[in-house]
Symmetry: C2
Subunit: 266 residues, 2 copies
Amino acid sequence: MIVLLTNDDGINADGIQALKAAFLGVPGAEVYVVAPDRERSASGHSITIHHPLQVEEVDAGEAGGRSFAINGTPADCVKLGVKALLPETPQVIVSGINRGPNLGTDVFYSGTVSAAVEGIILGIPSIAVSLTAFENLDYSFAARFAVYLTGEILARGLPENTLLNVNVPPLGEEEIAGVTVTRLGKRPYENIFERRFDPRGKLYFWLAGENLTLDDGPDTDVGAIKDNLVSVTPVHLDLTNHEVVSLLSQWGLTTRPGTGPTKGAP
Amino acid sequence: MIVLLTNDDGINADGIQALKAAFLGVPGAEVYVVAPDRERSASGHSITIHHPLQVEEVDAGEAGGRSFAINGTPADCVKLGVKALLPETPQVIVSGINRGPNLGTDVFYSGTVSAAVEGIILGIPSIAVSLTAFENLDYSFAARFAVYLTGEILARGLPENTLLNVNVPPLGEEEIAGVTVTRLGKRPYENIFERRFDPRGKLYFWLAGENLTLDDGPDTDVGAIKDNLVSVTPVHLDLTNHEVVSLLSQWGLTTRPGTGPTKGAP
C-alpha cells in the first residue's frame, strides 16, 4: 500500500508526524509525506498558479518513508505529490491530523479538508482527520483511528466523489464514547473585525470572533463531538442543487426580455 | 437596493468595472465595490486570519458608488464588506465578471465563486458571473445579464443555501443562442507539472496543463457554453452526502475493534 499524507498545519506539525508514525507501523505500507513548508490553515481550496512550487526533501528520520516540504497549499501538495513526486498513484490520501476542529461550516475554509477534496478530484480515496482542540493535544488515538478507517476504506471501497471528514474528541481512547456517522452541522464564523491602527496611524482590520453553533443536532458532527463521539461525515463533491435546476427552469430566463435586458431590475 | 460587487481578478479588472457601470445604471441602486487589490484567482475559499486586512478607498470616479481595495481574498472582501464597510447589509452580492470560465470542476478553485459562497454563508443572495474567454473580451452583455438576473432574484427569491453560477459566452447579444439552467459538468485540470531549473540549478515545478472535458452533456454548463448559451447553475452549500450516511452506518465503525485499533488495516 502506498499512502500519501498531507496537512495544512505544515510538515513539522505534531499531527502529521503522529499520522506518519502510525502508518509506518502498518506492515507493507509505503508512506509519503508531501506537506506545506509552513502553516497554511484557512487556505481553503486555493492552488498556486502564479508562482513556481519548490520542493525540499526533508530527512524522514530513522522510521522510514519519504517527506517533501512544498511552498504551496494543501491542494498543491496533493496535486504535486500524485502527479510529480510519488513513484505511483497512492491507494489512499490522509490529510491531517489537524490541530483544531473541522466541523460543519469549517469545511469550506479548511485546508485539511481541501487536500482530501483534491484527492477525490484525482480519483483517489481520501480522508481528512482533525482533533477538536487546540491545546494539550495527544494525537495518538486519532492516528490509530485514521489507520483503522483507512483499512476499512480499502477493504470496502468508498462511493464515488465522496471523502470522509473525521473529527476526534481530544480524549484518551477509554474516554471516547464511540464512533458515529454524521451530517455536517452549522457553525459559521461570527465575523467580528477588530479595528486597529498601525504604528503610522493607519486603520486596519483583523478577523476575530468565534464559531456560532447554529445546528448541533445529535445527527451532526458538531453534536457528536459534544457527546465525546468520533464523527465520520461523508462529504460529496456534487455542488449542483439538482432540485433547484427544475425550479429555475420555470423562471423563463432570456437574453432578450420584453423590455430590454434590465427588465425586472431593482 | 444596496449591491456589493467583488471579484478575484482585482479591483482594476475590466470585468468588475463593467459590472459597476451596469449596476450604477439601475435607478435607486447603491453600488459598493469591495475587491482584492490585485489578482487573486485560484484562491478558492481561503480567508486571511494570519495577517491584518488593509482597506484603501479608491476614487470611484464620476459615476458614483464607493470602491474599496483590500489586501485579501475574495471571501475576505465579502466578509469585511458586509461586516465592517457597508452601512447596512446588501440585498445582493455579485461576484465577477470573471475573465475566463468557471465551469464544472473550476468551481472548487474559483475565487469568483467562493465570494458568492461566502455571501450565501452570510445569508445574502449571491451570484457569480464569468465570461468564458481570455482575450478580446467585451463584458457589456454579461454585465446587463447580471443586472437582469439580479432583478429576477430579488423579485422571486432564491432557495436557501444556493447561489447561482453564471457563465456567459464571449459573443455579442445577437449571437447568443439563449439562456439555460444547467448542472455542473466535469472538466478537471490535467495537472501537468513542468519541471524547470532556477538560475542556481535548483529544481522547481510549475503547474501547467489544460482542462480535460469529461462531462459536457447538453444539461451541463460546459455543454451550454459549447452551444453558445448562457448557463445558470444552482450551486448548493450542503456538502453532506446524505445517501452515504446510512451506507456508512452499516460499516459498524468502532473505537475498539476486536483485534485492536489497526484491525483491517492494509
